[in-house]
């Protein structure tokens, strides 16, 4: 699952990022090794204070996330995720409100700068969705009214 700033950007937040954070349910999943082999990448296990990482040109943008501070376990947070279509593939990403919650918990200086932007973006996205839903409902109601009128006119003309 894509998390962090990249996931926020995918949802429309106007922020910049240097990498794409990937959160795995199980970092030892053999599928990861297979995927890395396909693109000529390699897995670098954790050593000392250094977390596990990916090596190789094709995966240089990706970082491994082991835990999302302030959030639940992977399976719990999966419930708050969404699938985004990226053209040739679809990916799972963490919902913006959960990204904000995690950044609020971590509270690093760079997070403090980003949080207000993420909050504004979330408010804009939710409001836009609400307006679109409301407008869609109005159009559907009018369509219903129109088709009822047309049906009534047809019935009337049949009786003539």
């Amino acid at each position: 699952m894509i998390v962090g700033a990249a996931a926020a950007a995918l949802q429309g937040a106007p922020i910049v990022t240097q990498d794409i954070d990937l959160w795995f349910r199980d970092i030892h999943d053999p599928g990861i090794g297979k995927a890395l082999a396909k693109v000529g990448g390699a897995f670098v296990p954790s050593i000392g204070l250094h977390p596990p990482a990916f090596a190789g040109e094709a995966v240089r943008l990706f970082d491994i996330v082991l835990t999302m501070h302030g959030l639940g376990a992977f399976d719990e947070e999966k419930k708050h995720s969404l699938i985004v279509d990226l053209g040739r593939l679809s990916v799972r990403i963490l919902a913006l409100e959960r990204i904000i919650k995690s950044k609020e918990t971590v509270g690093r200086p760079k997070d403090e700068l980003t949080i207000p932007v993420l909050r504004d973006a979330l408010a804009a996205i939710e409001k836009k969705k609400a307006l679109e839903t409301r407008r869609g409902g109005q159009t559907a109601r009018l369509r219903g009214k129109d088709s009822a009128k047309t049906a009534s006119r047809r019935r009337a003309s049949r009786h003539k």
Partner: protein, 124 residues
């Protein structure tokens, strides 16, 4: 220049809309629409006067608005509406979010990474 109701109905039908659905979709009231429909000319008298003085048709000096301009105006209007409902929001953040929502997710990510790393990000 008058409104051609037949043409409008036909264009709406192509979109799967009735006239009423079109008016609802475009946010135009029935009163405003039928008021315009009754007019001999929807153009202001001043424009017709200028055309008359030049001995040309108003269409000779009117140009279509660039589609991007219309899009930006729509986003500005939506930004105003959202910020009016929540005054604490930063107008620029809202406007940029709405602009990004016009793009595909992969374009949003590419934009974010390009600015963050100053590199190009390829889909493949």
């Amino acid at each position: 220049m008058r409104i051609d109701i037949v043409k409008i109905r036909e264009l709406a039908r192509k979109k799967g809309w009735t006239l009423n659905a079109l008016l609802a979709e475009s946010g135009v009231s029935k009163t405003a629409f039928y008021h315009l429909l009754r007019k001999d000319s929807v153009l202001p008298a001043s424009l017709r006067a200028i055309a008359g003085a030049l001995s040309v048709r108003p269409g000779d000096f009117l140009t279509e608005e660039h589609p991007d301009v219309e899009n930006i105006r729509r986003i500005q209007t939506l930004t105003d509406r959202i910020v009016a409902g929540k005054p604490g929001l930063d107008r620029e953040n809202v406007r940029l979010t709405l602009l990004l929502l016009e793009e595909e997710p992969i374009q949003r990510l590419r934009r974010s990474l390009t600015r963050g790393r100053n590199i190009d990000f390829h889909e493949d």
